[in-house]
């Protein structure tokens, strides 16, 4: 995986540039602002992690890139997402179909619901390349077998006629990866790809993704809530809270020197294998905000031990970290006393 420090300085075009993305959902509870102005970039060959809890907007951001936000109730209100200069958000359905799968592909958390249970693996794998690469059925079949071999499915040729339910969870996820990568997309979005899997299988799948990435120089967006997974595979990390990016930095800096109190809280609240048994976790008290009724100011302020009066009135803008990253907080956590995410009663 590569990591070029001059990314921010050079005017070179990024593979994917998302700018000011906003996604709303109309619900009975009122207008839910799921994504509230998200901007980021992605370069060839790198892995960008997006971390956040349920409702933070990490999945919706990426569904918007794929043109998969359900409409209604969802609406992509504003923003641009340039992939190689083409705006994904402005594309017609036909144009999107040509791009999806070919240039940008997605792996979902639950392979059982993402694969069609009525079609054999062969039918699902060949459909892609016949559509995008104009393969003949025979070519498509050969290609599909070689993809299944690449992702490590034993007896690939024989298993082509199997249905998804014939495969175990880990094997199904491999089939999904084979499918997603069969047209060698530039961007692979992986939404919690290993959350449903056991740790030993998770390690196999993450290794497989890294291997295929270095072969094809694929750019990966990895959406996860697991900070361990982020630490082990991501070059850069974005932390999202209540529909906004609150911090972004390269992985080592983010873990060593978190600048946003939410990032700090997240890192403190995970039990760790390399910490002794029995110490109390410093949990972030309270609940994530209701996206239909967001508080004014910083949406993390009600749970934040560092919050100032200003934080409850005004939303902090994303500012640059000293290193390449960005963060959105008025407080300079390095200058203030460390404050515990105290055990306040809810």
């Amino acid at each position: 995986m590569m990591n070029s420090p001059e990314q921010h300085l050079s005017p070179k075009q990024h593979l994917l540039e998302v700018d000011g993305l906003q996604v709303d959902f109309k619900t009975d509870d009122g207008l839910v602002q799921a994504v509230r102005g998200v901007s980021f970039y992605l370069d060839r060959g790198e892995t960008l992690g997006i971390v956040g809890e349920s409702g933070s907007g990490k999945s919706v951001t990426n569904l918007a890139l794929m043109g998969l936000v359900p409409r209604p109730p969802g609406i992509v209100k504003s923003g641009r997402a340039l992939l190689d200069g083409q705006d994904l958000l402005q594309m017609s359905d036909n144009a999107l179909t040509a791009v999806r799968g070919a240039k940008i592909a997605m792996i979902f958390q639950d392979p059982m619901t993402a694969l069609n249970p009525f079609l054999t693996v062969e039918e699902q794998l060949t459909e892609m390349t016949i559509l995008h690469l104009n393969h003949t059925p025979a070519e498509a079949r050969d290609h599909a077998v070689s993809m299944l071999e690449q992702v490590g499915i034993p007896g690939a040729a024989r298993r082509m006629r199997d249905y998804p339910h014939h495969f175990s969870g880990g094997m199904r996820q491999r089939v999904m990866i084979a499918m997603a990568l069969s047209c060698e997309p530039d961007v692979l979005i992986a939404d919690e790809p290993t959350t449903a899997l056991d740790v030993t299988i998770q390690a196999q799948i993450l290794d497989l993704m890294a291997e295929l990435q270095s072969e094809h120089q694929t750019a990966i967006i990895l959406i996860t809530h697991d900070l361990g997974v982020v630490a082990s595979v991501c070059d850069r990390v974005m932390v999202m809270y209540a529909g906004k990016i609150v911090e972004e930095a390269d992985a080592p800096s983010l873990f060593a020197n978190p600048r946003h109190p939410y990032t700090m809280g997240l890192l403190e609240s995970v039990p760790r294998l390399d910490r002794p048994h029995g110490v109390s976790l410093s949990a972030i008290e309270g609940q994530p905000p209701d996206l239909a009724h967001l508080p004014p100011g910083c949406s993390f302020a009600p749970r934040c031990p560092y919050a100032l009066e200003k934080c409850t009135v005004e939303a902090p803008p994303l500012t640059d970290r000293i290193d390449q990253g960005r963060f959105a907080c008025f407080v300079n956590v390095d200058d203030s006393e460390p404050k515990p995410f105290a055990a306040k009663r809810t």
Binding site: T200, L266, D274, H277, S282, I284, A343
Partner: protein, 344 residues
């Protein structure tokens, strides 16, 4: 090994819960080309452990290893095929539902899915006071007060008594589940993946709550989870399960710093740590293949096919769980590589 000068293993008279050689087998009919042929799924195949008063015993393992079936069999929700379960000097594994009922005051359960385990048509007040109705605890009027006290105890506003489960978030629902389990003042709670459905920040809240309650009320827990770090954090002793058997059992610190069974070490090395510096230096013990089907009977060690150090002997004879303070079921117990827990 490791069984040197340690005191006698707690006898079942001293321990609160004692599980002896528990087996749960499910007869099933095969599908596919063997359709109709009967076979036996050995979900739990000879599990033994003791839990002392005030202690937390963790059970870890991957899906299908039998940890949840063990939990359900302890509570008599699945009938044990063989073996014994003792709770406070009474044997409870063969009891009929009505004979089991009085014992349920001592042993309760918290489930994984906080959305499925609460009745959506009952108010929180009724959910929490229903166990008191069943056991006829407190006077009718006091039950409401008791329910309010319990909600307060688990960190919820007592005024929420008349709300319905859908009005609460996942973490709050799990707190309601804890309050319901506590309503009958049990001695031990079996927790099956109680925090795995929760977000990271909420998970820490619930773990802290459970540890606080244990201190306050002197509870014992059997804590079942697939997350190794969570189990290390909360459990005093941990058992590692593979294919229906406990393959290693030791105190939490001992097991994580000096794991002896190759499977436990592979598990530990596969679990990522939230620190890029550590992660980039780690060497993993890569396991090939997947957990085999529990309907096969193995002459040798059931882990042998995936084990990095297995030899011919391992495929012939099945190792037994041996050792007192640190029990391992392996012919060649050894530390293959330092674990991340050694960095502390």
């Amino acid at each position: 090994m490791n069984n040197s000068a340690h005191h006698e293993k707690t006898s079942s008279a001293e321990s609160l819960l004692s599980v002896k050689n528990l087996r749960v087998h499910f007869p099933v009919r095969r599908g596919g080309w063997l359709r109709g042929e009967r076979c036996l799924i050995r979900a739990v195949d000879g599990v033994s452990f003791d839990v002392a008063e005030g202690e937390t015993l963790g059970l870890v393992g991957e899906s299908g290893c039998g940890k949840s079936t063990t939990a359900r069999a302890i509570l008599n929700l699945n009938r044990a095929t063989a073996g014994e379960v003792w709770l406070d000097v009474a044997r409870i594994d063969q009891l009929s539902p009505s004979a089991m009922l009085p014992h349920r005051r001592k042993i309760q359960m918290i489930f994984q899915d906080p959305f499925a385990s609460l009745n959506p048509r009952m108010t929180v007040g009724r959910i929490v006071s229903e166990p008191m109705d069943i056991f006829n605890l407190h006077s009718r009027r006091d039950r409401k007060l008791e329910a309010m006290r319990l909600l307060d105890l688990v960190g919820l506003n007592p005024r929420f008594l008349n709300r319905y489960p859908h009005e609460f978030s996942g973490g709050q629902r799990q707190r309601i589940g804890v309050a319901r389990a506590l309503a009958v003042q049990p001695k031990i709670i079996i927790c099956d993946e109680p925090v795995s459905a929760l977000d990271v920040s909420i998970q820490a809240q619930v773990i802290n709550l459970m540890m606080d309650l244990q201190q306050k009320l002197g509870l014992s827990y059997v804590f079942i989870a697939h997350d190794l770090a969570v189990v290390r954090h909360i459990a005093d002793r941990v058992g590692v399960m593979y294919l229906g058997k406990i393959v290693e059992l030791a105190t939490s610190d001992e097991l994580y710093r000096s794991p002896q069974h190759p499977y436990k070490q592979a598990l530990l090395s596969a679990a990522p740590v939230p620190d890029p510096v550590v992660e980039r230096q780690r060497k993993r013990i890569q396991l090939t293949g997947e957990v085999p089907s529990p309907d096969r009977v193995y002459p040798g060690c059931s882990f042998a096919d995936r084990c990095p150090i297995a030899d011919a002997a391992c495929r012939e004879k099945s190792p037994q769980l041996e050792g007192e303070a640190h029990a391992v079921s392996c012919f060649k117990p050894q530390l293959l590589a330092p674990t991340v827990a050694n960095n502390t």
